[in-house]
Subunit: 478 residues, 2 copies
């Protein structure tokens, strides 16, 4: 997870001076000005909006014509997502166009014919690729837009969907109906979440989805009200607009889907992103500021300064580097997070103490571990049975006293102790020898098996990639 938390950026003094004296930030002129300043930067301009509308309509018309030409009378295209709801931020040119098949169409027909239509459209694109979720769909660059063309079933209600994407049109309807007049509040909240590093429900970020953001605005009626309420959120916060939830959920935030009583819209939100949002909301209440929406970008340190910054921590850094496998981020990141945990477990099993962990992926992938120390004593105290447990004690003693490489054998607190050679006194050797036996995800595992390097200290700063340098600079805020 890469996030830039506002606390990195010089707010220290503002906050500490304001703590305790809650700023009455609601509905005053300064806040109004601040919101306007934010909106001035993120609201789509009239011509931007018109262009988006034009392209969307054009694509929908083309799809409908192709469907018609294929004699698919009940198939029609539909614009969904933020573009359809006027909740998109200026500059983000995403279009989600769904090709809706009848609810009783066969899965085979949907997949086959859906793809035929989508491919035809894609012929006119600058570039495209076929992607696979539950069904195949097409993602393309088209006249400055990032367009997803997704076949789905038109079902009676979100509770009886046949595929995960079938839910989207229902979300679209609900938001379109309920968000009118609140679109600007959604824009503000989305931008605020981006600033806090918690926007995006993909598996890399584990933050707030666009739909979740919109539901929060529907629930609380305004950007400010969401912020103010979130300051007091606790794990288990429960929001159910329709009061129709039927299932117990364990996630820190539960927002029941108004179109599906069983579903928690915030299921992908991690505890830490939940907390980071609360933290940022409190910052805003204390000191509303443009920087919370648009964090200052950090000027990367040069190699030497970066090295000294890391060195000043007095810890040991170890990196595992390998070629990034060719998979989408939603496949890659869960495997990297799993790998982090497996590496920590391996290190801790051998008594290395891990302070912080993180991963970064560019052309290469780096799993970075920060240890109290990358070396341990040559020996290890192996505690045996109490001396008075006759049989066990005798065989323990016989085993270790005969061993050539035992450093010492003695009695401590009634137990035999054999000081035996430590198998891995060096964390690098441990990782080099044992990494591939770790339980890590399929693609990452095979990428690592094709060859990985274990780097230490200054070697790590030698990885030449500006994005990696930024990752190091923000460490351990990753």
């Amino acid at each position: 997870m890469v996030w830039y938390h506002p606390i990195n950026y010089n707010f220290k003094n503002d906050i500490s001076s304001l703590i305790g004296q809650k700023v009455a930030f609601m509905e005053n002129d300064a806040l109004k000005e601040l919101k306007e300043a934010v909106l001035a930067r993120i609201s789509p301009r009239t011509e931007e909006e018109a262009y988006l509308k034009e392209i969307a309509e054009l694509l929908i018309k083309k799809i409908d014509l192709i469907a018609c030409s294929m004699d698919l009378k009940d198939v029609s295209a539909n614009l969904v997502g933020s573009a359809a709801r006027n909740t998109w931020i200026s500059g983000t040119h995403d279009l989600d166009i769904f090709i809706m098949f009848p609810g009783d169409a066969s899965r085979e027909e949907l997949e086959k014919k859906g793809l035929i239509i989508a491919r035809k459209i894609a012929e006119e694109s600058e570039s495209f690729e076929e992607r696979y979720a539950e069904h195949p769909y097409i993602n393309m660059r088209y006249r400055g837009f990032d367009v997803d063309i997704v076949p789905c079933f038109r079902v009676g209600s979100a509770a009886c969907i046949r595929s995960a994407v079938d839910r989207t049109p229902f979300h679209n309807e609900f938001i379109k109906k309920n968000i009118q007049g609140l679109e600007k509040e959604v824009l503000l909240l989305k931008q605020f979440m981006k600033g806090a590093g918690v926007y995006g429900s993909e598996l890399r970020t584990q933050g707030f989805s666009g739909y979740l953001t919109e539901l929060l605005v529907v629930k609380y009626s305004s950007f400010e009200n969401v912020i103010r309420s979130a300051c007091d959120w606790q794990p288990g916060t429960y929001i159910d607009l329709n009061s129709h939830g039927t299932i117990q959920h364990e996630e820190p935030l539960v927002v029941i889907d108004p179109t599906d009583p069983k579903r928690n819209v915030a299921a992908a939100l991690s505890l830490d992103k939940f907390c980071m949002f609360i933290d940022s909301c409190r910052e805003f209440v204390l000191s509303p500021s443009l920087y919370l929406f648009f964090p200052r970008s950090v000027t990367p340190l040069d190699d030497r300064d970066l090295f000294h910054k890391l060195k000043s921590r007095g810890t040991s850094f170890i990196a595992i580097a390998f070629k990034t496998p060719d998979v989408v981020e939603d496949v890659l990141y869960p495997q990297l997070y799993k790998m982090e945990l497996a590496v920590v477990a391996l290190l801790e099993e051998h008594e290395f103490k891990v302070l912080n962990k993180g991963s970064w992926a560019g052309q290469n992938t780096v799993i970075l571990m920060e240890l109290v120390s990358a070396t341990l004593p040559t020996l290890r105290k192996h505690r045996g049975p109490p001396v008075w447990v006759h049989k066990h004690a005798e065989s323990f003693k016989a085993k270790y006293i005969a061993a050539e490489d035992v450093f010492a054998f003695y009695i401590e607190n009634g137990n035999y102790v054999a000081e035996v050679p430590r198998k891995y006194p060096n964390a690098c050797s441990l990782l080099k020898e044992r990494l591939t036996s770790c339980s890590i995800g399929k693609q990452v595992s095979s990428a690592a098996k094709n060859g990985f390097k274990v780097l230490r200290g200054s070697e790590i700063c030698g990885i030449h990639d500006q994005s990696f340098k930024l990752f190091l600079m923000n460490w351990p805020n990753i």
Copy 2:
């Protein structure tokens, strides 16, 4: 505690080859020969015995005469201890002579007049000093003997003693009556315990006293029977020759005093010395050997080899050295052991991991600590409250985010974490600054306060004292 455990001395192969096949060591010729070989070295020769008797009788006579001349008709001298019971090892020339005052004498009279008599005797000694236990007494060098002259009360039974030493004459009577014919067995057992490093009940050793050794022989009838029985001892082993014990005892070995039902004669025996004895007894059963009675002495390594031996462990050694305070061992060692624990607690409070500890005292005293590492990261992760505990979280954040020296501030598993500078990243600095605030014994504390050094690594091997070198060589078997 300094001990030389037989397992240090090359028995490895003997034992491992014999394990599992119990050697029938009882009453065979080899064992008989072994016992005779041991006794040949430790039984007092006839002339040695005669000389001891002569000196003892001479001193008793002198005391009686002095008492008489002071008109103390009910005061008389009495030889007690191993010299009185023929259970002393050749070469150990200790005499314990008790000046027995009537049971109803005043404490003042005993102390005053007892000391007058003792001082008169001491006038003829080569050297002497007044020592203090519950009462003052005199220790002197007298014609090759180490003589204690101890005033005590002659009471009706050991249960109604007025001072701790009053018990000794009762022990003397009991053993004299019950040990006849078993004196050689006692000699063998004492020497065996010396070989195992468990003989001596002083606070430095925390092993078996002479009286305890004698009681074990009375209980089990022979050296071999003690050895065989001890192989299966467990903590809580209970021996009560008179079946008259009245009190629950918590020590690993309980041997009720035949002259005092409330007293555990083995109260001073530590768990580890108890276990070391069991361990040595099992060694003897597996492979009876002269070396168990007389461990080979170790040739000290030269400084370089010693340094390399310690270095090869890959650990960090830190020593605290100061001038040994001028107190008897029974005062010194408990304070040193207390200091070891206090130093370990101080180090562990600051996250240093102690592998082994020990102390040595010659002209200087050295408390030695072996650490996983003597240095730790410059920073320390300080975990704050969960972010959702609004008030606590806010004040934690305000405190640390404003601090100039905070390395990083972030959220981890729902909690705020501040990476703050570690106060003592170096164990040496910690000890230098904080040692004198440790809870350590009075004399040792003031000795340390008068000036101590903290030594590391090679500096430790630079302490020039053969006995200290031996202490290092056997490390961590101290």
